[in-house]
């Protein structure tokens, strides 16, 4: 049985991390394109809690939540945002590209749909190696319009790969609503022509997401093939930090904020147990402290040395061609 307090704790960590990142960017203490998942934490946490540490995920441009939920540390993520060598990408690639083999994070991705095939490939690898690892692939509903989504569903369906396709359906792709970018919003219907299982979950209810994901993961682990899991949710912030999001109706946002995934879980737990509130408050506070420590530590580190930018292009260093000083 999943511990709901653990779920809450992780959601709180994501919320704290992203809230901090938003402020840091506004203060220009960090730079870059920042896509926050505030409001969508339940999907990342519900799904990743159904996974083992040696399972794999592939993530998106809106990936902080996935990475934290899968076991990425806020220290190394924050160091990456600050361009520090201790960051997950040695400070060179930024928050859009966090990856960690130890935590089973294949990578965030700045290409819409770009991470799907590698997630399918990880499932293929598990199948070939005879491992029971499972791969979960996150993507927004906007990625459904990318052809590669369909290539992946077909391949996974054909080979019955142990993969869970997790659609974070927040009804917006940048500044464009789903009615403008998908012929129909019901992404789960794509399971049918590929003969794969599907689940639809309330993406703001972490327990519901976790249940659905657990069934999907169990099927995958048992060799029963892929699942398309569609979670309806909503992003609170603009598409990226700096986007005023004037394109959407404030009431739409307000309605979804009423359904804050953290508050929703809190209400469930408090209704069950009167001491819950204090416990959850403590988790909130600890999440904030942890993120604050990570910020301070990252900020105190020196910038990644300039020379490191040409490292790791290949496993063994090659004579590098070109460069300003060629």
């Amino acid at each position: 049985m999943v511990d709901p307090y653990a779920l809450y704790e992780t959601m709180a960590r994501i919320r704290s991390f992203e809230t901090a990142a938003s402020k840091l960017l506004a203060q220009t203490r960090i730079g870059g394109f920042l896509h926050l998942s505030i409001g969508q934490e339940a999907v990342a946490v519900g799904v990743c809690a159904a996974l083992r540490r040696d399972d794999l995920i592939s993530s998106t441009h809106r990936g902080h939540g996935h990475c934290i939920a899968k076991g990425g540390t806020v220290e190394r993520m924050m160091a990456e945002m600050f361009g520090r060598e201790s960051g997950y990408c040695k400070g060179r690639a930024g928050s859009l590209h966090i990856a960690d083999p130890n935590a089973g994070i294949l990578g965030a991705n700045a290409i819409v749909g770009g991470g799907l095939p590698m997630g399918v490939g990880a499932a293929l690898s598990a199948q070939v190696r005879g491992s029971d690892q499972v791969s979960a692939v996150f993507f927004g509903e906007g990625a459904v319009a990318e052809g590669v989504f369909h290539e992946c569903l077909n391949l996974a369906g054909l080979w019955r790969l142990p993969v869970v396709f997790v659609c974070e359906h927040n009804s917006w792709a940048e500044m464009t609503p789903v009615t403008t970018h998908l012929a129909a919003p019901d992404v789960e219907e794509f399971a049918v022509p590929y003969r794969i299982a599907s689940e639809v979950a309330d993406g703001n209810d972490v327990l519901v997401v976790h249940d659905a994901a657990s069934r999907a993961v169990a099927r995958a682990r048992a060799g029963e093939g892929p699942t398309l899991l569609v979670c309806r949710t909503y992003r609170w912030r603009g598409h990226f930090e700096g986007d005023p999001a004037t394109y959407r109706d404030p009431d739409e946002l307000a309605a979804w904020q009423e359904r804050d995934p953290l508050r929703a879980l809190r209400e469930v737990l408090v209704a069950e147990d009167t001491s819950a509130a204090a416990r959850l408050d403590a988790l909130d506070a600890e999440a904030e402290r942890a993120v604050q420590r990570a910020v301070e530590a990252a900020e105190a580190e020196p910038p990644a040395p300039v020379g490191t930018v040409v490292e790791d292009v290949y496993r063994a260093p090659l004579a590098i061609h070109g460069g300003a000083h060629a």
Partner: protein, 324 residues
Amino acid sequence: MPELKYWQAIRSALRDEMARDERVLVLGEDVAQPGGPFGATKGLLDEFGPSRVRDTPISEAAIMGAALGAAMTGLRPVAEIMFLDFMTLAADQLVNQAAKVSWMSGGRFHVPLVVRTICGNRRGTGPQHAQSLEAWLAHVPGLKVVWPSSPGDAYGLLKTAIRDDDPVVVVESLALWGSRGPVDEGADVPLGTAAVRQPGGDLTVAAWGATVPVALDAARHLADEGIGVEVVDVRSISPLDEATILASVAKTGRLVVVHDAVSPAGVGAEIAALAAGQGFDTLRAPVVRVTAPFAPVPFAKHLETAYYPQADDVVAAARRVLER
């Protein structure tokens, strides 16, 4: 002549051409209702309506191919591929289809297609939003490729591209998005022409897009030392204005090429090869390419700054070449 920002010049060219020619159609991700990811299509939907200004799904191949089909059948589409890096997703439609239709059909179909795309270099956009892939495009027969470095050229080249009967890729620099300059709405800028931005007798520096200001900066430094740098804004990546480049090299005998793309098989290699071929007899020193190192584009500002050629790098390269 009005002063406009780079992005306003783009918008202005789109507006003028759409008003002039009802066959012009604009399509791409977030171009209609949102007015473009960075504002370059603002107002077009209101002025020209939803049939001619269309938000698309996130489907780069279909955007490119649908624009191609429309271009073959009476329209003059301007398709937007948000970032040059995403051209990889539309590459079959661009390279195997659009670029070849005129040739394959025995010249019976034409493809008056414009593809606008942004290069995010020098703007902290990281390894999947900042690649300079102009060399790929230059290697494709059937395509024309331009990269404006000023609002005036952003306007003039886009306008000429829309009026051209062949597929033209217009690469725009996010780094120059807010730069201001005069825009002559009467003047066309012909495709296939470079522009000498500053004359000089000692050394030719060829650059395009966001490296033009870098080259001009270096030229100013060197001018203080009495060294005359001729800055050629290549501007037309394909076809290259070989005559202008060769004439400059004939005059100076020395060539430095500056670009933000990586070096191997880049457009800098093509220009160096041109000098080593037709220009050989006038060349008095090695051709030096000042480029990004052979690595993806870093996100962190300090790494990105070190990654791209700076004026100092151009000055240093110039000194090496001038020693000879």
